[in-house]
Amino acid sequence: MVRIEVVDESGNLRVPLALLYALLRRGARLCGRSLEVDPSAVQQLASGLSPEDMVPEVEFCPSGEPQPIDLDPDDVLSQVCTDVYRYFPGDESSRCAACAIKVYSTLGETWLVSEEQLVKILEVAREENLPIEWNKGNVVYTTCPPDYRDAQNYPPGSYREGLEKLRKAARRLLEVLQ
């Protein structure tokens, strides 16, 4: 087994999310800040990632600090997400929504989900076409387009539709995470 350090001491991901996903699908085990990987899995990936290994990713939105959204405790999003956000200032002008799922503790340097759960989290992003980013130990699903500048073309207030999209993904995740 080889060890690959995937998270630095500040909780930033050192590898692309797609590579993390690809290695986990090939049996890698989560171990502190590292992954324990069978050398054959690394060899398989030497020629590059296949389309099945790709997850939609997005860079952090530059619209300023995301605005937290208060949810009803019964809302499925509040049961799955550590935080729910909307992007772009102003309730009415906000375009995108996001749900942060805490998967790694920087403090304890431990994973808060199993390998199977993490694979599922990344898989849902693929299947529901929700671009994701890694942020301080969170996998953040967003309804932003991969190129955030395109979000300006969304009509103001469209984050509400985004919340519905996130709810659909959250319902799938609820079964996995509980």
Partner: protein
């Protein structure tokens, strides 16, 4: 023979006098330890002066600081301790007596009239936090809170998904903004909880812990990491530069609400004053040897 009320009053009076005239032994050891490691000559001189000031104050029975603080108590009452309400009255009487004798500076001001009550008593003065436990003793911690330290306290509502990661930023920002005002080197207290009240109470409890080497737990390691970062800021003793900006950083945690991660950040100047006594139902008194000692 004295009544239990009189025993409590005298014991608290003694505890107040000891707290304002000498630092606990562990605090003294912390200052000495940092003084030995300090590389800035001016900072070393300031730390030596602080050590000398501690010795002079204890020898002559004079307050360590002209601000003898807002009288604050944490009182733990055993369910079988017989004189619960009496104990609280005795504490209040002891505070008034300590003020009358000049042990405490009058530090309680009516916010409406701006008049000093002159006795360190009044609405919510002294401030007494009460806890109950199963037992037959009365445990009292006296923690005078100086205005310089309390004036730079901060409360942060951090995003729950990035709570610990944002905490580092919040702590460093608080220390930088506080600058020389809390009379560094300081003790930095962090309380984490679900509500502002809870986080603040937990931060206050950090004052009860003793200075020691950090154990190998994730939380203690974070405390050490944050302390090291603070001590790279160069603020130094009294804000005049140096390696020693903080002597310790302590974090107390409670469960948070799913939607909140609230951090209260409080400071104590180098003179972290505290005294701890335990009074038995038979009137016996135990004095914490860490607080009741001669430097």
């Amino acid at each position: 023979m004295r009544s239990l009320g009189e025993v409590i009053e005298r014991a608290v009076l003694n505890a107040i006098e000891v707290a304002v005239t000498r630092v606990p032994r562990d605090v003294f050891e912390a200052i000495k330890s940092f003084a030995q490691r300090e590389t800035n000559p001016r900072a070393r001189r300031i730390l030596s002066t602080i050590i000398e000031a501690i010795r002079v104050a204890a020898r002559e029975g004079t307050p360590l600081c002209q601000d003898t603080g807002y009288p604050t108590f944490i009182v733990r009452i055993g369910n079988r301790f017989p004189a619960k309400a009496l104990a609280l009255r005795a504490i209040k009487r002891a505070v008034a007596e300590a003020t009358k004798r000049g042990i405490l500076r009058p530090n309680t001001v009516d916010p409406i009239t701006n008049r000093n009550t002159g006795t360190n008593t009044g609405p919510h003065a002294p401030w007494i936090e009460i806890e109950m436990f199963r037992g037959d003793e009365l445990e009292i911690f006296f923690i005078p809170r100086g205005g310089g330290c309390e004036g730079v306290s901060k409360l942060y509502t951090l995003p729950p998904s990035r709570g610990w990661e944002e905490l580092e930023k919040a702590v460093l920002q608080s220390v930088i903004e506080a600058g020389p005002r809390p009379c560094p080197p300081t003790f930095v207290f962090v309380g984490i909880g679900a509500t502002a009240t809870m986080a603040t109470a937990l931060a206050r409890k950090c004052a009860l812990r003793q200075w020691s080497t950090k154990p190998a737990t994730p939380l203690a390691q974070l405390e050490q990491k944050l302390l090291n970062k603070i001590n790279t800021l160069g603020i130094g003793p009294m804000g005049l530069g140096g390696d020693t900006t903080a002597l310790d950083l302590r974090i107390e945690i409670g469960c948070r609400h799913p939607a909140t991660f609230i951090a209260s950040i409080q400071f104590s100047c180098w003179a972290l004053r505290k005294s701890h006594i335990v009074i038995g139902r038979d009137g016996s008194i135990w004095l914490d040897p860490n607080d009741f000692w001669n430097p």
